[in-house]
């Protein structure tokens, strides 16, 4: 029943969007009526999504999708998240988020009616493309041809609170770029005043903030769930999310800097098209199963070809309009050796090179396999050796960019910065000399601290300190950059100065971690609702003679016959102590302990960046 409701409302929603799309050419609509239709189709799409969710919640196994991916023993939250834990459901989520964005955009005030209408027509066009994709190749409402009483379960690796919310937030980021894309294309067609830039800025900030949150959640999940001790693996799916993130960053910065320069406006249009194209391309790479990763879903060539076609149409259409309706160039850029505009241009170039480098590394295996029929994989070493050096000059520039002038080469208080930089360099050199020296560690720490220091100097020397909302809005760019600095310190320390210790232990053994005694108490097995758990319990002496218990082990999920590893992490502000329980051999358990310094700084930095994103949305 819920399946039929879901399917019919989906088809009906696509129909309305088709009608709206035609309205540009055939039926003419009043603005009010048009917006009403858009909202109605959004509500229908959501109805479709929620009927699928309902089928999951009540474990309606007459729905083939629910049967394949759910199980009646699963806790309620994972029944709900099971809705998007599979290919079909996640595509419906994609479409629903697209609808939500259209819905809210239809309420935007103070933009020209025709412009808003055209933007929404392009949204309707995207809705049709992805809607048809769902109906023809990924229908989540298929009826199960056999009567069954039990489902086949959900991938246990996905039964995790972090991952339950990761896809919706990440998708909100990806799909949010669709509005920016539509705005840019509508802007090209209408070539009106610059009002659209402010609208685009708001939406691109929303998307970017969501994308940041989505990537960070995925990364955090990988950190404690995959049990490899790291938080970033240059997995193809991670790369795919990083590309629109970096180009989105370039877009957000360009939008904040633009002051009517035609060249930058043109660049903004290009970035808007690029961001959404990369999002769709990412969807294609994941959904076609063309790349293997932890996110592999059932691969299907027809799906792949359909979504490749969508990618081709969307991107091709975008760049073709860009080619034909290119904004006229009238004034040139005010480029000086070092002013705001030149810093912006340099940073944009670096970000685009970084994006292209990641793109090349990601699709290189496909090209090689087509040409030479050989399977290769491009991983961490390539990306670390290329992307990081490209980003470094950008980070350096970033520390001073907010205080650069528009018109001159002069930097206010430049002496303060020079002195601060010299002192900082000496401190970091001393640190490296007395502790273990590592080139990357040195560069990373210097950059991270320098960005924070320069931003703090800028805040205190350029503005009068006041505690009110307006002040926080003014210093927001510096706050965002402090977030980046903190994240860089976390990234550097946790990757360069990571320490690994291996032990073979019996129950009751004591061992030494970082000068502290740890007791391997016992192994415990318990039966939970939908899995069996095996846990090693460790008693860790912390400061002030308080001991903390850490559990590390594995879960076994009988329905899907999978084992997942559950790392035990002791979080401290300056380090994470990360326990992994290995195999048992000759009555001894293999235990790996990783000491990851300053991991918490990464999450703190990300939270600060997201906070700044939110503040920037409210600032005009």
């Amino acid at each position: 029943m819920s399946s039929s409701v879901g399917f019919l409302s989906l088809v009906f929603a696509i129909g309305i969007n088709f009608y709206l799309f035609l309205s540009r050419y055939i039926f003419k609509f009043q603005k009010q009526k048009f917006n009403l239709f858009i909202r109605f189709s959004s509500i229908l799409t959501l109805l479709s999504f929620f009927s699928l969710m309902y089928a999951y919640v009540v474990s309606d196994f007459s729905n083939y999708n629910v049967f394949q991916n759910s199980h009646s023993n699963k806790p309620l939250i994972y029944k709900i998240s099971g809705t998007w834990g599979n290919h079909e459901g996640s595509m419906l989520l994609w479409l629903s988020i697209l609808s939500i964005f259209s819905f809210f955009f239809s309420f935007t005030k103070n933009i020209e009616d025709n412009f808003q209408k055209l933007t929404l027509i392009i949204q309707a066009f995207l809705h049709i493309l992805f809607g048809l994709f769902i109906v023809f190749t990924s229908n989540p409402f298929l009826v199960n041809s056999i009567l069954v009483n039990e489902g086949l379960g959900l991938n246990p690796i996905l039964q995790d609170p972090g991952l339950a919310v990761h896809p919706p937030i990440l998708y909100a980021g990806y799909v949010g770029y669709s509005i920016v894309f539509s705005i840019a294309i509508a802007g090209l067609f209408q070539n009106t005043d610059d009002e659209w830039l402010y609208v685009a800025k708001k939406w691109s900030l929303i998307s970017w903030t969501f994308l940041t949150g989505g990537i960070a959640l995925g990364s955090y999940w990988a950190y404690y769930e995959l049990g490899w001790g790291g938080w970033w693996f240059w997995d193809p799916v991670e790369n795919i999310s990083l590309m629109p993130w970096i180009s989105g960053l370039a877009l957000v910065h360009s939008l904040m800097m633009v002051r009517g320069e035609q060249a930058i406006k043109k660049w903004i249009v290009f970035l808007s098209i690029l961001c959404f194209s990369l999002s769709v391309f990412g969807t294609f790479l994941v959904r076609s199963g063309i790349l293997t990763s932890v996110h592999s879903f059932a691969a299907d060539a027809s799906r792949g070809i359909f979504i490749l076609l969508i990618f081709f149409i969307v991107t091709g259409f975008g760049f073709l309009v860009f080619l034909l309706k290119e904004p006229k160039k009238s004034n040139t850029l005010n480029l000086l050796f070092i002013n705001k505009v030149s810093a912006l241009v340099i940073n944009n170039i670096l970000m685009i090179i970084a994006t292209l480098t990641i793109l090349l590394g990601t699709i290189y295996p496909i090209i090689i396999e087509v040409l030479y029929n050989k399977r290769i994989s491009v991983g961490g070493p390539y990306f670390n050796a290329t992307v990081i050096p490209i980003m470094i000059p950008g980070f350096l520039l970033m520390s001073i960019a907010p205080i650069l002038s528009w018109q001159t080469n002069k930097i206010n208080n430049s002496k303060k910065y020079v002195v601060a930089f010299i002192i900082l360099s000496v401190l970091v050199i001393l640190q490296s000399y007395f502790l273990d020296f590592n080139t990357w560690g040195f560069v990373g720490l210097l950059l991270g601290f320098w960005i924070i220091l320069a931003s703090i100097i800028a805040i205190f020397s350029s503005y009068k300190f006041k505690i009110n909302i307006n002040f926080f809005k003014i210093i927001n760019p510096h706050i965002a950059h402090i977030g980046v600095g903190i994240a860089i310190i976390g990234i550097t320390c946790s990757s360069v100065f990571q320490n690994e210790l291996d032990f073979n232990l019996n129950e009751g053994d004591k061992f030494n971690v970082n000068g502290k005694t740890v007791l391997f108490e016992k192994i415990e097995t318990t039966n939970e609702i939908n899995f069996q758990s095996l846990r090693g319990k460790f008693l860790f002496d912390t400061e002030k003679n308080q001991s903390k218990e850490i559990e590390a082990g594995k879960n076994y999920y009988p329905v899907s016959k999978m084992i997942t590893s559950e790392a035990g992490i002791l979080h401290q502000w300056n380090k994470d102590i990360y326990f992994i329980l290995g195999e048992q051999k000759n009555n001894e358990w293999f235990v790996k302990v990783l000491i990851n310094p300053f991991v918490s700084f990464i999450w703190l930095g990300v939270i600060i960046m997201m906070y700044s994103g939110l503040i920037a949305i409210s600032r005009r």
Binding site: V148, I290, F312, I367, V370, K561
Partner: protein
């Protein structure tokens, strides 16, 4: 000059799409590497009969006879579709040994399925935990393997076998 810059994204787009399309059309799938088992020995397995837990079949029991191994389950609808074909094979090639593996199925459901639709197999082995399927590298049900007298896998088919597959691909090997 300026035009070239604006054309570049379109050219890059075209190149990416062409490579991806060729990749997809060539039937390559990173999740399904070419079967590593083809022309190799049958994996070592041991399974009890669906009807009598004491009745065990092992790898060496299928030596010296041509064997068709089929993985199926009561919950698998494509299996139901290919099911009648095994009776045809049974009739046409009485000397061929038909070995079915019941995959991740409750015993009662499996028995009911074979009672309702008939049992074409010489032996039905239980693979309730899917370990045998794992050894064979089964991706999804149904899957069918042909093993020759020397115990080598000479043919593998993924998905429900059809009359065409039977006539053109399996029969020439029998």
């Amino acid at each position: 000059m300026n035009r070239i810059f604006i054309l570049t994204p379109l050219i890059v787009l075209l190149i990416i799409c062409i490579f991806s399309l060729v990749y997809l059309l060539s039937g390559k799938d990173p999740n399904k590497p070419p079967s590593a088992l083809l022309n190799k020995d049958v994996p070592i397995f041991e399974s009890s009969s669906l009807y009598n837990a004491k009745d065990i079949i092992k790898t060496k029991d299928i030596k010296n006879k041509k064997t068709l191994i089929n993985f199926f389950a009561s919950w698998c609808s494509p299996c139901k579709i290919e099911h009648p074909l095994f009776f045809e094979i049974r009739k046409k090639y009485p000397e061929l040994y038909l070995l079915g593996f019941n995959h991740k199925d409750p015993i009662s459901d499996a028995k009911k399925y074979l009672k309702d639709d008939g049992n074409p197999y010489d032996f039905v082995g239980v693979d309730s935990d899917g370990l045998i399927a794992l050894e064979f590298g089964v991706f999804g049900l149904p899957e069918t393997y042909l093993v020759n007298e020397d115990g080598k896998i000479i043919y593998k088919f993924m998905g429900p076998i059809t009359m065409d597959v039977l006539k053109n691909e399996i029969e020439p090997l029998l």
